[in-house]
Amino acid sequence: MREADDVDDVDFRALVRARLEPLDVDAARAADIVDELAQHCAQQYADLVASGVDQRDALTRALAPLENRRRVVDEIARADRPRRSAPPPPASSTHLVVDLWRDVRYGLRLLHRSPGFTAVAVMTLALGIGANAAIFSVVNAVLLRPLPFADPARLVDVGEPGPDGRAGNVGFTTVVDWRERTHAFDEIAMIRSWYPTLIANGQPERIPAMRVSANFLRTLGVAPALGRDFAAADDTPAGWHVLILSDGLWRRRFNADPAVIGRVVTMNDQPYTVGGVMPPSFAPIISEHFYEPAQMWALLGYDRSQPFACRSCQHLKAIARLEPDTAIGAALVDVNGVHAALRREHPAEYGAATAIAVTPLADELAGNVRAPLFALMGAVAIVLLIAAANVASLLLARVADRERDLALRTALGASRGRIVRQLLVESSLVAWLGGLAGIALAAAVVPLVADLSPVPIARLATARVDVAVVIFALAVSFGTTVVFGLAPALRASRVDLQTTLRAEARHSAANPTSVARRLLIAANVALAVVLLAGAGLMIKSVGRLLGVDPGFDPDHVLTMQISMVGKAYAKNEAVVAKGDEMLAALRRLPGVESVALAGQIPLAGNVDRWGLHVEGRPVTPDDPFVERYSVTPTYFAVMRIPLRRGRLITDADRASTEPVMVIGDRTARTVWPNGDPIGQHVRIGGSDGPMYTIVGIVGDVRHVALAAPPTLQMYTAQAQLTDSFLTVVMRSASDFGLLAPAARQAIWSAASDVPVYRVDAMRTLVARSVGARRFVAILLELFGAVALVMTAVGVYGVISYSVAERTREIGIRSALGASRADIVRLVLANGLALVFAGLATGIVLAVATTRFLDNSLYGVSATDPATLAAVASVLFTVAAAAHLVPIARAMRVDPAIALRQD
């Protein structure tokens, strides 16, 4: 009885319960377990006391096995399962779900217990997955999502191929013949740009618009929301003045009035009837790509009799819908067969024989951004790989820390599959948390991307984190889990019981887990080299481009576009006279040094190419095409384009005098390789125009792009060959913010019906022309910075872990008399070998991959040694800096404590 009393004095249930952390089973079962274990301990205690052991010793011995709380709790929770009366069928699915749920809860508890690891791992993955989700949402919007038209896969662009091989412009009569003779196309529509001037509230507004054939909307498979579609019967030279408005224009200028249908609107002195209003969902992605986002559409109204409808008058775009189930290849054969026949029938009207190109409309619209976007996809994929390598390395470190725990579990009967699963669940949790955080990050960043982009990219504004992006991000998270979770898990499942359970194993440097981590970090450094090399090359390219001499002086030049259209400007004399009036008004503005008008200015996106035929030489289709700019005499002074020989255009060159021309250096060298062009006579365009006398040669200008070498160029006098779409260029040291409104007023004081638009500093146009490259460079730079930080964290993690692992070794060495310098050398030798291996591999990889950037580079080779050297030294510095803290820690190792460890 005495024993029983003693036993009753001690509340074993409370003691056991206190030793079992909250058990991961339901409350009733937990109570049963506590009960059973408490009885065991109580009886053992009683037996020990009965055998003469002191009560206190007996209590300690009875409870001793429970002191390793975490392990006991783990073991019990793991072994125990919801009971059932009959033994469960092996590996039943409910069983699996219950197991999985238990693993998930266990995993969450473990993550909660190490907030530092969890935060770093989740943030690293969030950056990696967020960057991928963000770029993917752009790629999805711009490249992958189907065009917002009916059955968009059947829409194509047809035309003679431009320099890039994609379908270019066509002439009206050619298309009419194609329509009649081909069979592959359901519809062929034609479009061209159009800029009518709408005058309201006394202010003229130039409206970007399109002239389209009557079947344009039908070809796309869209229809007006209000009113009706264009009718073929109206598509004539007399009847084409029918308008369909965009939803935006209808709301802005017509107060969203449904009664607008049938209303007559006057533009450029012509009456137009409003026929319909498009739905808001109709985005002007076609006009935006080829011209400017259209806000209204009118009919083309051509017929074969008109001079500009000729076969070679290639100023239209043909957009066609393929017959159902017709392949592009079949359409190519069809249209080229027809076109070859046309060429035979009208040999004089077609140039050099080229095959007609048929380009999927989606490809055409995405054409310019495809390569940079794929480069960015590659860059973010590298960021993700680095993130994954870093997290894998963190997980491996955790596995190493838990080796004894895992070994015990294996010893206690946990199968290898069981342990792999637990670890995979743990890494999946990290991946999903990182994925969710990444999606949130992308959702925050994506709306800003469209604003960041310096060049309009079709459909960029529609980029957002949608279901496709979420699925993509989750798939990436899942893939990442497999990649970075499996290796540590398999590694852990092979934990060697014998060596692991002997504590000393943890202190040997040859631990295979450390080897794997070290390899990951070397890979991390290598990937960072690739990314930073790409970023470095792009930055260098942008720098080189901005350093290119454009052939003119873009500083202190303000540009503004004007158009003089309508009845008042039907005659060239009126345009010239009004232009002179405007120039006079502008010249009177304070601070204006010089001012001129030009039909085209460099880097503004406008080009006008004419055939150039030299007097006395036979006219052939191979005669050079030369860019033509009509300018007023002061243009060369405003732009500071140098005169090489001869004279410039002067005020004396009027409509009544002999037509003159100034040509660029390259034109002179190309067309007259051996002779003197000055004094030569040339005809431009068709064979019936006037003869121009070449009077001077000026320096070449980079007109199309800074990256493109100067083209063939010629200047005519605005007074002799008059353009009505003009750009005002002004040289002034004044603040453009003040000058621009004053200049606008000055123009309107001379001509109140002339719209002024696209007001930009010439410098802005120069910057914008490198905008796409700079955009890519900025993003690569950003991703490179992320990679650099991750690399630093990764190197720091591995080195400090290896210092911790080798505390005992370091202790022994310092006890044996190693100096502090020896210790520093020990740590550095260990880490820098890794860094060098990574750098070397990275340089090889960079040389192999940066050539994909070739098209985006300018003035720098894809394997530029200086860039690679700079990248390597930046990475080396960062990696070396990451050693500082671990070195400091190693120097503080107290031999006495290190040796006593364990």
Binding site: D32, I33, D35, E36, L37, Q39, H40, C41, Q43, Q44, D47, A64, P65, L66, N68, R71, V72, E75, I76, R78, A79, D80, R81, R83, A86, P87, P88, A411, L412, G413, L497, Q498, L501, R502
Partner: protein, 111 residues
């Protein structure tokens, strides 16, 4: 030491099943019997025994139930199931084969 541990763990299930083959027992009794019959060579304590019991129970080899008697606390007794009996026999066969092989190779005779 770790060799012992592994052997012991590997044999733990067989030992428990064998003890339950004789009659139903509770946990403390199992632990005590293993200690006594192995002359202290095999030892189970509370933290290692119960997870093993729970696992065996989960696999349907043994079945535990609470038994209450008038003057004592309720105790949990474990009983060998039919499946447990089968498993035990299979384990006996493989241990036997193992010892025979070991004996042939290393000349270790066992009782």
């Amino acid at each position: 030491m770790s060799e012992d541990r592994e052997l012991r763990k590997g044999s733990a299930e067989t030992v428990i099943l064998a003890l339950l083959e004789e009659r139903d027992r509770h946990g403390y009794e199992i632990a005590k019997l293993i200690d006594q019959r192995s002359d202290g060579a095999l030892k189970f304590h509370v933290a290692s025994l119960y997870p093993t019991l729970y696992r065996l129970e989960r696999r349907g080899l043994i079945q535990g139930r609470w038994v209450e008697r008038s003057n004592t606390r309720r105790r949990r007794f474990y009983r060998l199931t039919a499946q447990g009996q089968k498993t035990l026999e299979a384990q006996r066969r493989s241990w036997k084969a193992f010892f025979a092989a070991l004996n042939r190779v290393a000349r270790i005779s066992h009782a």
